[in-house]
Amino acid sequence: MNYWVEKKEKQIHANVFIIKDRCKECGFCIEFCPQGVLKVSEEFNSKGYHPPKLVETETKKCIGCGFCSMICPDFAIFVEKEEENEKN
Amino acid sequence: MKKIRFWSGDIAAAEGAIAAGCRFFAGYPITPASDIAEHMALRLPQENGIFIQMEDELASMAAILGASWGGAKVMTATSGPGFSLMQENIGLGAITETPCVVADVQRAGPSTGMPTLVGQGDVMQSRWGSHGDYETIVISPSSPQESFDLIIRAFNLAELYRVPVIFLMDECVAHMSERVVVPPKEKIEVVERLKPSMPPEQYMPFKPLNNIAPMAIAGMGYKIHVTGLTHNEKGYPQTTSTEVQEWMIRHICDKIRKNERKIRDIEEYEMDDAEIAVVSFGIAGRSAKAAVKIARKHGIKAGLIRLKTIWPFPEEYFENAADNIKKFIVAEINYGQVKLEVERSIHGKASVELLPKFGGAVHTPMEIYNKIKEAKNGN
């Protein structure tokens, strides 16, 4: 029962899980990430594709919307939210 | 208590199906099979069953397969043109080992042919109608009484062998009305579907135990995959494995072939000392029986072999029968179908002659008797 307490805006942050060997490099997750946190990696997976990776400078920018996991045709990526500053 | 009814073959087949436990019928109107659908529409709601008239025979056949996997005993009924359309999903029924009964009330063909008149030209189609290697069981009744009795057997065999069973009637049997004795319910033998009882992780939906695999119907929790593609024991597609293809074809064929003797149902009449045998089935079988009686009155050693099961063809039976028979006369309302099978089965031990009717009429007993007489006189 704390609705009268002034709450600070939540700092939502999420972890990105990548199953590299499932990726077929369609590029959907990279293109359509609303935060632009993904890019093509240089490594090859076992199928010969380049799986996505987080942009180094943007590791904290994922908001966990999960759109990448929704539009991945290969079940190769998903996110899990990690909520910070919740009790501030 | 037994009941006496005055039923046509179509009605008797519908009532027999219900007695065998059929609770789902999907069909499309076609002469001379429509009476079965009409009677099912009337009766199934009373028996807590489901009747649905589909948009065509392709859909009717697909719907009964779906309902069979849904757990019901199922049936459809049609005639030649519709039977041709059903072949597609009879193949699916064969490869997915789905119990179902398809009544084909034969009329004269090909194509639209003679819709209201008799034919027996679907013998080969009932066995070979769908593409690829498979086996079916084909049963042919000669009377309304047999339509009732044998369709119960058709349902039982469908469950026992997990196979589409073709109930090959003909227009005359379907439309004639006769006395039918309906035995009391407890006297009717009904085979129930073999379902799995093992835990899901141990269950292989297409791995035979004895002859067939127990069949998990939808919703039992086995989460099976059923496909018309070549599949392994687990039901998974294996579309590039020649080994799996061989295993699967051997299984769906051998489960029938190796049980031919058990499936076989033949009426023999005056065969003990016969030298001339008339081979027939369905309505033609009744003329043939009358012809044999006439022949016997004239002192000719003739007998009748009436096939109640046509497929799997009783090759072994005919090979043995040929040891004592000089001549087989095959009386059928087509231009030579069962005749080919008789010829093939007896390996030249006796001569085989076709007595065809081309559709639209049944042989008269005298026509068949005259053929017997000719045979006796060595023509």
Partner: protein, 276 residues
């Protein structure tokens, strides 16, 4: 943070031993499967009470990947098979997932009649504008002018507007999304599956290998970008106004959501009357 993973939370709904699936890179079918699994996850559907029926073609393979009772039937006959299954086993939720050619060319007659009867099933029709599995032939939804292997000079046939067909045939729920609208698609699948009666969702999906390549959109990404630029959401619009034409906007949204008695409802009523 980026974490390397071995499994996806959706894997529990998949037949793990059948993954990876057969679909090409950039194909939209994986997204349809993904949206469907998210929908059943959110609906908390008991997988023992779910049956998937499909026909033949690339989309037809979906049935085999979902870990429930699944039936991969003959070409065009998924709907009548599903009709029999649903009527004989009313405990089951029955979903048909199949392609445009399967559902609307060879199976078109079954679609309209199941909709007319209001059979209680959900049909997800994946429209990729062509027959993908057989190599990219002309289909009933190929847009006018599009090039396929059997319309090498451009298609001269008018395509079906699937949502209009569904509406005209009597479907109680009709929606269209592209695979880019994955979240809305998921929500639509949830709505459709909760609907009593014949519900239909058309999903426009990329087929880069056999369609896109011949129509100036050689990658799945090209097609997805096209959807981003050219789709307009118009809920409640008359589906007859939502034709799909090359170079024009794709109208998506929930078009129809009505109530009427299903075949099963009516048949149960009939049985009660008969037994009295």
């Amino acid at each position: 943070m980026e974490i390397e993973a071995e499994a996806n939370p959706m894997d529990k709904y998949l037949r793990a031993d059948r993954i990876p699936h057969i679909w090409c890179p950039g194909c939209g079918l994986g997204i349809v499967l993904n949206a469907f699994l998210h929908a059943i996850d959110e609906l908390k559907i008991d997988m023992d009470e779910l049956a998937i029926v499909s026909g033949i073609g690339c989309t037809g393979r979906i049935a085999g990947y979902i870990n429930c009772d699944s039936y991969h039937t003959t070409h065009g006959r998924a709907i009548p098979f599903a009709t029999g299954l649903r009527l004989a086993n009313p405990e089951m939720k029955v979903v048909v997932i199949s392609g445009d050619g399967d559902l609307f060319a060879i199976g078109g007659n079954h679609f309209i009649h199941a909709a007319r009867r209001n059979i209680d099933i959900t049909v997800i029709g994946v429209n990729n504008y062509n027959y993908g599995m057989t190599g990219g032939q002309l289909g009933p939804t190929t847009p006018l002018g599009a090039r396929t292997t059997t319309s090498p000079y451009g298609n001269v046939e008018h395509p079906f507007n699937l949502c209009h067909v569904a509406h005209a045939s009597g479907a109680v729920y009709v929606a269209r999304w592209t695979v880019l609208h994955a979240v809305r698609l998921k929500n639509s699948i949830k709505e459709a599956m909760n609907k009593n009666g014949f519900s239909f969702i058309e999903v426009i999906a990329a087929c880069p290998t056999t369609y896109g390549r011949r129509n100036k959109m050689p990658t799945g990404l090209d097609e997805m970008k096209y959807y981003r630029e050219h789709s307009i959401i118009r809920h409640g619009i008359d589906p007859s106004q939502a034709n799909i034409e090359i170079g024009k906007d794709i109208i998506v949204g929930k078009f129809i959501d009505i109530e009427k008695p299903t075949y099963s409802d009516a048949f149960e009523e009939l049985k009660k009357r008969v037994k009295k």
